[in-house]
Amino acid sequence: MQPITIRIEGNFYDSQIYAGYLHLWTLEGDLITIKWDEFIANLVSSKIQESLRFIAYAAFVDSNFFYRKEWQLLFLDEEFKRLFLTRLNQLKDVGLTFSLDDFSGYYIKRKNPFIFPHADSLIYYNTMYVCSRSGVYVSRLNSKMKRANKIWDGGVVNMSASKKIVALAAGQDGVHEYYLWDDTKVARTKKDRVKKQIDEPANFVNWMYGSLFSSFYSQGHIVQFKSEKKKHKNKEKKRKLYHEVDEKYSAPELFSDNLQSSSTQLIWGIHDKLCSANDEFINVVKYAPQVLNNTEQFNEIGKLQWRNLTSNSESEIIGASSGYFGYIIETDEGLLIIGSDYDKENSKAYLWLDEEPINWRLFANSKNYTNQLHVIYENNISIFSFNQDYYLNQATKLVGLSK
């Protein structure tokens, strides 16, 4: 499960990738925007042989490419699969390390218009959101980006967007939603655009399909919503009329009693997977909100050992997340990536990065970059591309989100 890696030297703090552009916050207070797709097409391609360019494109520009149905059929051909794996291995061996000078003509550097340093960042509907203890700030994505507007005064530690809602984890102040639409009962005025949905503390928030998940270490909650839509005059699209809490679940209770203990360190949920990590194992519940019977929406599908994959037997979990290619666990000593192809027969499908990162980020909600993991270290950003998930059975996966 060795990834392909592009390394960019520099002192960075955070990164985002969206619609062909890579955005990097520097420690010096700049916001650098790189024409990522163009860079990959031209500069990287000039460094690698022609036979690898196709793989490089899929690996760094279009992560959805190999998930398409026709490729699934092609992966059944063992000969093709062998060639695919051979090309991947060849690309892994190419040194892809760059300095910012190599990006000349491919990037712009501007003064960071947001509060800095921040807690989290997000790009959604061509708008950049940055949050910190002092509030939430936004700026439309364009070449200037001279000013960011503050949309909320509350301190926010983590954000996640879906269905024109930005969910805001506000620490002790619970979880709030910021509505992008402006023609509903809940958001008639700008002031009404933020609404508290979960009272319990939260430092992690994400979407499990249309449901909102939040957690504060071992405590987590899933909120399902009911909404009504109606057709607007002269508009073909139905518009949301309201969005209200329907059901709320305490996440720890969704794991069977024998799995729940005081040793639970962290619970997190994204899309179809709800994970609970204790000192040794990650327990996994699969979420299927389309099932009408509430009790059958959550099914425990198994567990896997994580502790023995790290270099330290006592390190605490600091953070975690899920991508299609696997699970990520951050400890105070490094990052553990457990690949979606990890199982008892393939117990080497993991990667332990034995260095404390400054920051790291997955893009599970993006269109084209779901296979990327960005890890920022003291003097570089490492952009990892994982490509082992395409030929796995998505419906039966224990590790990683299902496509």
Binding site: P117, A119, S132, R133, G155, G171, D173, N203, I318, I358
Partner: protein, 145 residues
């Protein structure tokens, strides 16, 4: 041990009050582990720094520096996700230049106990707080020094 009063008045008239609940083992309050003299020194340094960076406000921040490195200055309450605390929060709640302080818990009391971004950046630029630690503090995550 040097005897110390319940409060100290600095040369510019600023008053610092040693708040007992953060030293008496109260399970609901974070507890100082540094001496009162060190607490006062932490306030003086933090006051001067924050005044220059963020101006005249009623919440300031401090760290306890020993031999050029930040060391822990307090313990979190029992059921906190944090254990050892290393940032002090100072409050002028009466707005009459009468301050008291306590060890801040950036994990359990987010965002109230998270220092001002500019102050954190200053500590980072002086090499007192690692960039990774700065990100964890702002992200409300557990953090070692």
């Amino acid at each position: 041990m040097v005897a110390i009063n319940k409060e100290e008045t600095l040369t510019d008239g600023t008053k610092y009050i040693f708040y007992p609940p953060h030293r008496n083992g109260n399970p609901k309050k974070s507890q100082w582990t540094i001496s009162q003299l060190e607490e006062l020194d932490c306030f003086k340094t933090g006051y001067k720094l924050c005044l220059s960076i963020i101006g005249k406000v009623y919440i300031y921040w401090g760290v306890h520096v020993n031999n050029g490195s930040i060391t822990h200055l307090g313990d979190a309450i029992n059921n906190s996700q944090s254990k050892e605390l290393f940032i002090a929060k100072f409050v002028d709640s009466t707005k009459r230049n009468e301050w008291h302080g306590y060890p801040a818990d950036h994990v359990n009391n987010y965002p109230q106990d998270v220092p001002d971004e500019h102050v954190l950046k200053h500590w980072n630029s002086k090499g007192l707080i690692r960039t990774a630690a700065m990100r964890k503090i702002l992200g409300g995550k557990k953090c070692n020094l």
